[in-house]
């Protein structure tokens, strides 16, 4: 028996001789700076590049409140590129964080808003507003005014929240894994059926608007809508940053988490509300955007080499923003006047990542914690 080797209990208060070295938790917060710089770089690129070439000093002048040499340049920067860059940054951060929250909540490495049908739930909310709203006007997000925008966002968040709660309710009776993903497919089908019914009884212009919205875009958000999007996303991201501690213990599973003092039900509710806020706001204004929610959290775990959410959350925000900005840049095909549907670009970027995840399923399951 190694009784003598058993270490003495630490003193309740530091005896004050010299501070003990910090425990190595394997965290490298310095890498966050790199990710933040990456997001900043992508933001600048989106401002710089586009179908029209504008000199950088002109762009800077406009951003500082001045005028460009050509008034068209001022218009392009203030009405197109700046809102697009802000939207992409916010949407990328929001969708990536919502993916991270869902992956940990459902203990499933392939969970994300699009896979679980949360996007579809939000779409149903949007469809209800767009196709049933009694106002005239073709464009989806034009002509509704502030009340329209607000009800659009609220309907999408509600749709996302209801879907998430439904999934959680059923998922607790299922094994995490394939059944959960099938459940997401079923919910997607169900909402698609409801949307089809709505479309069937709607007028052609609004149907066209709804279909365009479905391609996904960071270009449609006006300055009038920006406060709603930014407000909801920033509130959601702030809430997510406060969830690092509960998310970390949830990695051990609900039984262990409860035994370590986590109020499991309350934490689940907080995670669901935060996810619904983030997914709903982005889906309402940018359409259902796929893949980014699954891929970015995995990329971030790999880059930061940790599962600690206190690092993953800010890291995922930066990386998600950067990836969305780069995707929007690719969709614009700089130097040409073509614009690709955003979801097509997202799929081209995201599918390889997801295939890699599936092929390396075993190690992902282990590194992820499911």
């Amino acid at each position: 028996m190694s009784h003598a080797l058993f270490p003495p209990l630490p003193a309740a208060h530091n005896t004050g001789d010299k501070p003990a070295p910090r425990v190595n938790l394997g965290l490298r917060p310095g890498l966050l700076v790199g990710l933040a710089l990456l997001a900043l770089l992508a933001f600048v690129l989106v401002l710089l590049l586009g179908s029209v070439t504008i000199p950088p000093q002109q762009i800077l002048a406009v951003l500082l409140g001045g005028e460009a040499e050509k008034s068209s340049w001022t218009n392009i920067i203030l009405k197109v590129r700046l809102p697009r860059a802000l939207t992409a940054l916010l949407a990328g951060a929001a969708l990536s964080v919502s993916g991270l929250l869902m992956q940990t909540l459902f203990r499933n490495p392939l969970a994300a808003a699009d896979v679980l049908g949360v996007n579809s739930g939000a779409s149903l909310g949007v469809a209800l507003v767009v196709l049933a709203y009694g106002t005239t006007g073709g464009a989806l997000l034009a002509g509704f005014g502030l009340a329209g925008d607000l009800s659009l966002a609220a309907a999408a968040m509600l749709g996302a929240g209801v879907t998430l709660s439904l999934i959680l309710l059923i998922a607790r009776r299922l094994e995490s894994g394939l059944p959960l993903l099938l459940l997401g497919v079923m919910i997607g089908q169900l909402t698609f059926a409801l949307v089809s019914l709505l479309i069937y009884f709607s007028v052609p212009e609004r149907i066209q608007a709804y279909i365009n919205w479905g391609f996904g875009s960071f270009n449609g958000v006006t300055w009038a809508q920006m406060p709603i999007l930014a407000g909801a996303v920033l509130a959601g991201l702030a809430a997510a940053l406060c969830l690092g501690k509960p998310l970390n213990v949830l990695l051990t599973g609900e039984a262990y988490a409860a035994s370590m003092g986590l109020h499991v039900r309350r934490s689940r509710q907080a995670i669901i509300i935060t996810t619904a806020l983030l997914t709903g706001a982005v889906t309402a204004f940018c359409g259902p955007i796929a893949f980014i929610g699954i891929a970015v959290p995995h990329l971030c775990r790999g880059l930061l080499h940790t599962s600690d959410h206190r690092l993953l959350l800010p890291g995922t925000m930066c990386l998600g923003g950067a990836v969305a900005l780069l995707a929007s840049l690719l969709a614009e095909l700089p130097g040409s006047s073509l614009v690709l549907p955003l979801n097509a670009v997202m799929a081209l970027l995201g599918v390889p990542v997801i295939l890699l995840i599936i092929l390396r399923q075993r190690s992902v399951q282990r590194s992820f914690g499911a």
């Binding site: 425990v23 394997g26 206190r310």
Partner: protein
């Protein structure tokens, strides 16, 4: 004498299936978990071992009665207060992947840290102490993903220790480990109980190991719990009664389980050394009775085996049907004996 860390009063455990009467597994339990001891909870499958553990851990409500943690009703404590008094280790193996060992153990400080989970110098000292206490300091900077099951379970125990709770409940924590790892963890837990004064209750299927390491046993069978020192429970027959099953009986003399009775013709074994002992075991395993030369039944026995041990080699001389066969291994002896006819069903 310190008061027990955990007690139960009139505790009934079981399930409440929907729209049916509750399924009671045990009732009227008055248990006391003393500090500074390792108690093993034993019981056959289906006896309610897991239900009792889950009820004592607050993961499941009791059907009736109360569980008291140092006098306070367990099921009325809020999760955080409960976590500061009671910690658990389960069979399930959460994959924590990219967390390293220290980060995993630091999760145990959850009920003691603020909203952000930031560790104070004292929290860090506790984490370091808990890791050292389970002897895992050399593993703790590696990602948990790279560790073996046994190493990970040690860290899960360290995590429970870092929680600084007076009571530690472990539900079959060694079920998936190999024998050396099981022994190591049992000895570790006993040492923790003795040295830190924690009350440790561990449920296990490992009867032999529990008999050898536990300070006391709780035997759950037929809805009642018998508790006591392992040896007392063996001597008064409680142990045998709790595990009495068809064809498997607890042998008080050897402290192990006796296999179904031998069916083959007996063999008289001459010899007293180590090789003779293992020869008798081999014969018993092959379904034969090994008789001592002075056994009254040995007189009319046909087969006779001499085990001749020397410093250089051991040989077996098998006398049967009037001639002698020289064997150089137990395997040859078993092969030379006539086959045992299967016992009638």
């Amino acid at each position: 004498m310190m008061p027990p860390a955990l007690t139960t009063q009139h505790l009934s455990i079981g399930y409440r299936p929907a729209r049916r009467p509750p399924h009671v597994l045990a009732q009227g339990l008055a248990l006391a978990l003393p500090r500074g001891q390792l108690i093993c909870l034993l019981g056959a499958n289906g006896s309610g071992k897991s239900t009792l553990m889950r009820t004592l851990a607050g993961m499941q409500p009791p059907l009736a009665g109360t569980v008291l943690l140092a006098g306070d009703a367990l099921h009325q404590l809020d999760p955080s207060a409960r976590a500061r008094r009671l910690s658990i280790v389960l069979t399930e193996r959460p994959h924590l992947g990219l967390l390293n060992g220290y980060a995993l153990v630091a999760l145990g400080r959850h009920p003691h840290t603020g909203w952000s989970g930031r560790l104070s110098p004292y929290d860090e000292a506790m984490v370091r102490w808990a890791v050292a206490a389970v002897g895992a300091a050399d593993l703790a900077e590696r990602p948990v993903m790279e560790l073996s099951d046994g190493q990970r379970q040690k860290l899960m125990i360290a995590r429970a220790l870092a929680q600084e709770a007076a009571v530690l409940l472990l539900d079959e924590p060694t079920a998936f480990l190999d024998l050396p790892r099981r022994v190591e963890i049992m000895l570790l837990l006993r040492q923790i109980a003795h040295q830190t004064g924690r009350a440790i209750l561990l449920s296990t299927h490992d009867l032999d190991l529990a008999l050898r390491t536990a300070d006391a046993l709780w035997l759950l069978a037929g809805g009642v719990i018998r508790s006591g020192t392992p040896e007392d429970l063996v001597l008064d027959g409680s142990f045998a009664a709790a595990f009495h099953e068809d064809g498997l009986t607890f042998d008080r003399a050897s402290g192990g389980f006796a296999l179904p009775a031998a069916a083959g013709a007996p063999v008289v074994v001459h010899g007293t050394g180590l090789a003779a002992t293992w020869t008798r075991r081999a014969l018993a395993r092959a379904g034969r009775v090994a008789l001592a030369p002075d056994d009254p039944a040995a007189a009319g026995t046909g087969a006779c085996l001499e085990v001749l041990e020397s410093a250089t080699a051991t040989v077996w001389h098998l006398h049967q049907d009037g001639h002698m066969q020289r064997c150089t291994s137990i395997g040859q002896v078993l092969a030379a004996l006539p086959p045992v006819s299967p016992a009638p069903a």
